[in-house]
């Protein structure tokens, strides 16, 4: 148990080494697949719990706190509810497609996690074309959603499905172009390579990286159909959009697909722009002390449990005091910060209308992505002061031009007469 950072790697290696040599590769493959397949549903369940708690707190509410401590068993209760609920298929629906659609929606999303570097040499499959793999799998969900919308044979689903296809296609273009800048600078498509390239400076803190990251994150949100781009499942007008006619386990699969893809978008933004598992070498005991303080002051936790928690954390802090905070903790911390931003957007904004959505993608994000590639080129080739300044200038100028060009004339400020 030398280093906390390589904890999981050493555990799997020691387990695999006990097996006969011809079985070892299969076993390690199985271990990785097992880890990802088990982690995905758990991440999804506790993402729904986290979102409900965060949005509740943004609205002066408490959020689920009845099922288990702090509502921690709520996702399990939801899961059981989804199992028990009757699975209604509308009479006119195309039964096979109706069943297939949620499966086609969930499968690619779980596959996405194969190429994701969770920590230092903790990656499922270090593909040389990891990024291409991610972009390819990302666009399969539009097929699934259209299948779901078409198979439900209901007007609302139909409208929702049509909107989804238009939205996902028009947001993939700026998403992919913003990633081109990263590939150009790092020179590799392999995600592990990209993370290592960000060892000393994260791409987000470069001028082109900030804009490319914002564009990638926004087009990611649109691909996942979340506010402010959640036209396809607009509750207020389409009742439920493409998954109006789904219930029971199939609806749970839709829900899982949506949340897992949201998590994947945050994870990939972290990997591409926030330096994946790279993190400043802060000693581990600071983190342990912080967690101990948090557990110690949790009022609704029973006293003995609180004492036990603090003791365990202090012991852990003492054991690994000198070592830096492990890479996988950095990765999950950054990802969950981005998840907080995702939920924060959902708690604040109404949704855009479908034509404004399209306009925003084609007329604003796409040109900005092209300019970002130009700025990235300048930044990487020219020596330090000139490259950055020129990139910033070009980006700011293009931003101003695009905003002025895109500004619909109607947004003129209004004067209101206060008559008597």
């Amino acid at each position: 148990m030398s280093s906390l950072d390589q904890l999981f790697v050493e555990v799997t290696r020691s387990l695999v080494s006990r097996l006969p040599p011809w079985l070892a590769p299969w076993a390690s493959m199985l271990a990785t697949i097992g880890a990802i397949a088990a982690a995905a549903p758990v991440i999804m369940m506790y993402l729904t719990w986290l979102e409900r708690k965060l949005i509740a707190r943004m609205q002066n509410r408490l959020g689920p706190n009845r099922v288990g401590l702090y509502g921690l068993l709520q996702p399990i209760a939801d899961g059981v509810k989804m199992f028990i609920k009757e699975d209604i298929v509308p009479r006119g629906a195309d039964r096979l497609l109706h069943l297939l659609a949620p499966i086609v929606a969930v499968a690619p999303v779980i596959l996405l996690f194969a190429v994701l570097p969770f920590g230092r040499n903790m990656v499922g499959a270090d593909l040389h074309v990891g990024l291409l793999y991610f972009l390819a799998l990302g666009s399969i969900t539009s097929y699934a959603i259209f299948m779901g919308g078409w198979a439900s044979r209901s007007k609302f689903s139909m409208l929702g499905a049509m909107r989804t296809v238009a939205q996902i296609i028009s947001y993939e273009v700026p998403g992919v172009l913003s990633v081109v800048a990263v590939i150009m600078v790092t020179g590799t498509l392999s995600l592990v390579g990209i993370v290592e390239a960000q060892a000393d400076h994260w791409f987000l803190f470069t001028p082109w990286g900030f804009v490319a990251g914002a564009i990638f994150f926004m087009s990611g949100i649109a691909e996942v159909n979340r506010t402010p781009f959640d036209m396809p499942e607009a509750e207020s007008e389409l009742v439920g959009g493409f998954h109006t006619e789904y219930s029971g386990m199939k609806f749970a699969l839709w829900y899982m697909a949506e949340f897992l893809e949201a998590f994947a978008i945050c994870a990939f933004t972290t990997t591409l722009f926030l330096g994946g598992w790279q993190g400043p070498p802060i000693p581990f005991w600071i983190l342990a002390a912080l967690l101990a303080l948090l557990v110690g002051t949790a009022k609704s936790l029973a006293l003995p449990a609180r004492g036990l928690g603090v003791l365990a954390l202090v012991a852990l802090g003492g054991l690994y005091a000198r070592q830096p905070i492990p890479s996988w903790i950095w990765f999950f911390a950054k990802t969950y910060v981005l998840v907080f931003v995702l939920v924060w957007l959902r708690g604040t904004f109404p949704r855009l209308r479908i034509d404004q959505l399209m306009g925003f993608a084609w007329k604003f994000l796409l040109p900005m992505a092209l300019v970002t590639i130009l700025a990235a080129g300048l930044w990487s080739l020219m020596p330090f002061p000139y490259g950055t300044v020129l990139a910033v200038l070009i980006l700011a100028a293009s931003y101003a031009v695009l905003v002025r060009w895109n500004r619909p004339a109607s947004l003129s400020p209004r004067t209101y007469v206060l008559a008597d």
């Binding site: 707190r57 943004m58 609205q59 002066n60 509410r61 604040t348 904004f349 905003v403």
Partner: protein
């Protein structure tokens, strides 16, 4: 210049949500105090079964019949004014009559044999309380009345409606004291002339014991005989000055 930037107001909007998010946590409120951001609300949710909401004194839910002293001493004289005035017509009163159909008088007052209110129809509009000349019916504030079936359980009969005057004083002190003052004043007016009569007329023989007829249990323990001069009710302490 920053104000006209496209995203500026969007970010300020997100700032409001973040501030509300931090307000709900104690550490959040501490941070806001340090940054001197005015924050007022904090958590507004009440966790219902453990913490009950504080209702104001005039909170009205369903009516109840008031009695002084013992449940047989109720103020209602079955005059049926409230039955007529109730907009959704959910009160049903049957006056207590003896075998020959003449209303039974106890203490010189008639009383209802049956007094039902269908709580599934009543909309707690308080008109029955306004129109009742005898202050016999008042509004309750017990709202936890969920029942499994609509008809038997939500049809309150006389027994379930009867509640004591002490209960009324406990849930609505100011209103109860006003009602008591009014009753005491009326009492003094009726008691004064009665005082003059017994001096002149010889004390008449106690009226025949009330017949045992009527579905309700025969009122026992009733002191027959003319009204003593003092207030016939159980002597209450003089109502505190409101």
């Amino acid at each position: 210049m920053a104000r006209r930037l496209v995203g500026f107001h969007v970010l300020r909007g997100m700032g409001v949500t973040l501030k509300t998010f931090c307000e709900t946590y104690p550490w959040g409120r501490a941070v806001l105090r340090v940054l001197r951001i005015p924050s007022t609300n904090g958590l507004v949710t009440i966790e219902y079964p453990e913490v009950k909401q504080q209702h104001s004194e005039r909170f009205r839910y369903f009516p109840f019949l008031v009695y002084d002293g013992t449940p047989d001493d109720l103020r209602c004289v079955a005059c049926k004014i409230c039955e007529q005035e109730c907009p959704p017509q959910c009160i049903h009163i049957v006056m207590e009559k003896d075998a020959q159909g003449r209303p039974v008088k106890v203490h010189g007052r008639t009383l209802p044999a049956q007094f039902d209110i269908d709580m599934s129809i009543c909309m707690s509009c308080r008109i029955c309380v306004d129109v009742c000349p005898f202050d016999a019916i008042e509004m309750d504030n017990a709202y936890e009345l969920s029942a499994s079936d609509r008809f038997e359980h939500m049809l309150f009969d006389k027994q379930r409606l009867l509640k004591s005057n002490e209960y009324f004083q406990q849930i609505k002190p100011t209103e109860a004291s006003e009602v008591d003052q009014r009753l005491a004043a009326k009492q003094k007016k009726t008691a004064a002339p009665a005082q003059a009569q017994p001096a002149s007329a010889a004390p008449s023989s106690p009226p025949a014991a009330p017949p045992g007829a009527g579905p309700a249990a025969p009122p026992t323990g009733r002191t027959p005989g003319p009204q003593p001069t003092g207030p016939p009710r159980a002597p209450q302490s003089p109502p505190p000055g409101a």
